[in-house]
């Protein structure tokens, strides 16, 4: 396939891996611990496992799989709210596929569907709006979830619904924003990260300027990375070069797609439809100030939260969950007490086991567990 295969070229990968090894060998660094690089985005986590990227890297680089899977960080109470909305007989509840399995305190949306709720999988909010047009007697609710990547398309759909005067469409807004989240991680006292791979898709919308504080105030380098395996390797190499040269900048490896200034149309739609929430609860990370958005008063008619007065209950994560520590790179997934035992993709206890982009699910699915444990055994 054109535009894809060139980013999966094995020969180029080998050259990059050699370069990375060479850089590591000559770098001045604390040899007693691996360099920890966090990929913030779930899409990166997925690619890393899908292509076996981590296994190609020298052992002295450790990838930490960050909080960038929006499905994984959705708190249980919000899933309960979804189910409560879906249980209303007049509602057609529409959602992206991977949100279906996220457990709530009572049930997941998949379970709600099995119990007779009208829950449907869609591929874009525009599909949900089309359903609303087709079913004027029903209330169609779209489960808005995701970072800045998906936020504009939900906003544009709301604007479209308004233009058409569609009254039976609303969104249950759970969109979150990446910058406060990275900040929350950087503020964590047990942080050990050496650098970040920035989320390429988010930067398509917001550009690279919003990350400047990471380099300026927290003195950590970041490379905004694409999602093909070669993108990821190249970004790791760029990050190492920064560390080696003592630089600390926001570099953009993904410039072919993500322009420095972001996307003005998308940003305009986002600003028009949403405003920041005071705080938003994250699974595994607790409440983070200004990390979520809600629908502005001007579009209240499209806000499912107001239309259906959702219960908005807060439900604590199970005590045994160590998702927060995994997210911050303090422990690896298989070191969590319940990994693979009480917590599996069939019965996820924690957020990271839910979607295939979650670090724990990826380790479980792609067998990282085995390698991780073997490495520990051989180190001991």
């Amino acid at each position: 396939m054109r535009y894809v295969d060139e980013f999966r070229d094995r020969a180029k990968a080998d050259i990059l891996v050699k370069e990375i090894e060479r850089l590591l060998a000559r770098m001045k660094r604390d040899e007693s611990r691996p360099l920890q690089i966090m990929e913030v985005c779930g899409g990166h986590t997925h690619s890393i496992f899908r292509y076996g990227v981590e296994g190609m890297l020298p052992k002295s680089i450790e990838l930490v799989h960050g909080p960038g899977c929006p499905v994984c960080v959705l708190p249980m109470g919000r899933v309960d709210d979804c189910v409560a909305i879906a249980e209303r007989p007049e509602v057609i509840f529409t959602t992206f596929g991977d949100a279906m399995r996220v457990p709530g305190s009572r049930k997941s949306l998949l379970q709600a569907k099995a119990d007779g709720c009208d829950v449907r999988m869609v591929y874009s909010p525009m599909d949900a709006l089309a359903l609303a047009r087709k079913n004027p007697a029903r209330e169609v609710v779209f489960f808005g979830i995701g970072f800045e990547t998906t936020m504009p398309s939900t906003a544009l759909t709301v604007l479209q619904a308004e233009r058409e005067g569609i009254k039976n469409f609303s969104i249950f807004c759970n969109h979150i924003t990446i910058v406060p989240t990275i900040k929350a991680i950087l503020d964590s006292p047990d942080l050990r990260l050496d650098g970040f791979l920035g989320p390429g898709h988010v930067s398509m919308v917001i550009g690279d300027a919003p990350y400047e504080f990471i380099a300026c105030y927290y003195k950590k380098p970041m490379v905004i990375a694409g999602f093909e395996p070669l993108d990821i390797l190249q970004s790791i190499w760029m990050l190492l070069r920064q560390i080696d040269e003592g630089r600390c900048e926001i570099e953009n490896q993904y410039a072919r797609v993500a322009p420095a200034g972001g996307n003005a149309v998308a940003l305009q739609a986002v600003a028009q439809v949403y405003e920041l929430r005071e705080f938003f609860e994250w699974r595994g990370l607790g409440s983070i100030d200004h990390s979520g958005v809600k629908v502005r008063d001007a579009y209240a008619g499209f806000d499912a939260e107001r239309k259906f007065a959702v219960p908005n209950a807060r439900i604590a994560d199970p005590k045994s969950c160590q998702c927060g520590e995994v997210l911050k790179g303090v422990i690896k997934p298989w070191q969590c007490k319940v990994f693979g035992g009480a917590c599996t993709p069939e019965t996820p206890l924690g957020a990271l086991m839910v979607s295939s982009e979650g670090a724990c699910a990826a380790y479980y699915q792609y067998g990282g567990i085995k390698r991780g444990r073997d490495d520990e055994a051989s180190a001991a």
């Binding site: 076996g52 596929g97 999988m121 070669l230 699915q365 067998g367």
Partner: protein, 355 residues
Amino acid sequence: MNMVSIPPRRARGKVHVPTVTLAHGGGGKAMKDLIDDVFVSAFDNPLLSPLDDSARMDLLDLAQYGDRLAFTTDSFVVDPLVFPGGDIGRLAVCGTVNDLAVGGALPLYLSCAVIIEEGVSIDFLRQIARSMAATAQEAGVKIVTGDTKVVNKGACDQMFITTTGVGVAAAGVELGAHRARLGDAVLVNGLLGDHGAAILGARGDMALQSPIESDCAPLQGLIASLLNAAPNTRFMRDPTRGGVATVLNEIAEAAQIAIDIDEAVTPLRDEVRGFCEILGLDPLYLANEGKIVAIVPPDEAEPALEAMRAHPLGRQAAIIGNVVAGESGRVTMRTIFGGRRIVDMLVGEQLPRIC
């Protein structure tokens, strides 16, 4: 040997109502007429046409093909009922024929039980019956007995079909996952995931238009030439739901072996790859309806490959991997990128990712 001497029965003209009603399930004249019009006229053969309660086959006649009876059953529910490259009728014949064939048996007879939701158009039923008849002919099997039930609107999704198949396994053909040995080759007969992608693409709720057609096909011919070229073939399985990944895991588990496959040589249509990229799906888990996975001893791998490629349903056949020394029950894959990953059993259904 002449099997049965009863003359074929002529269908008694066409049913003149446009849709199936509960009266067609009542067991009376309406039902008889429907069965005659739709099924008997399409499947017409001397074993079926007397419409006795059972079809009776001559044992000596069967014995000429081998020394063991093979017997299998499967139910078919698919949404949509008609999709690019096939329909539920073709699927119902291919599925059962292939289940017999991968066991090393020659498929001979099928039963066909249909559950129809009230309100389905009779023309549509005729279309499905014709498709079943044509596929049965392609597969060299006869549909010799059946059953028709009509259920209330909402009690089923338009139409479910169950087919049961009888075949005969040739003497000496012993297939089993446990026979796999270190060094054996893993073969597939062509491009993977076409059926799964075609079905997903054909579902109305999908924003994607895809040109992918299902690979749905009866494989008894291809399998016969494979067994001819590689008589010591250890095991075969048709990777339907759950795809090749699931079948490989089942084999590895059952035989307590490790299997390693190579992504670079695993045959995939560009359209299927693109489709999976967009939706965040893994093509290894997509369903196939015209594919087999075969485990073949190393010295027969090349002849097996040649035999497959010489058959119209095996042009893109490939050796995708081997039985290797490793943790038993494990399937691994060398990725295109040179990395390595584990190919595990899937938990539940594959759901498309967000971004």
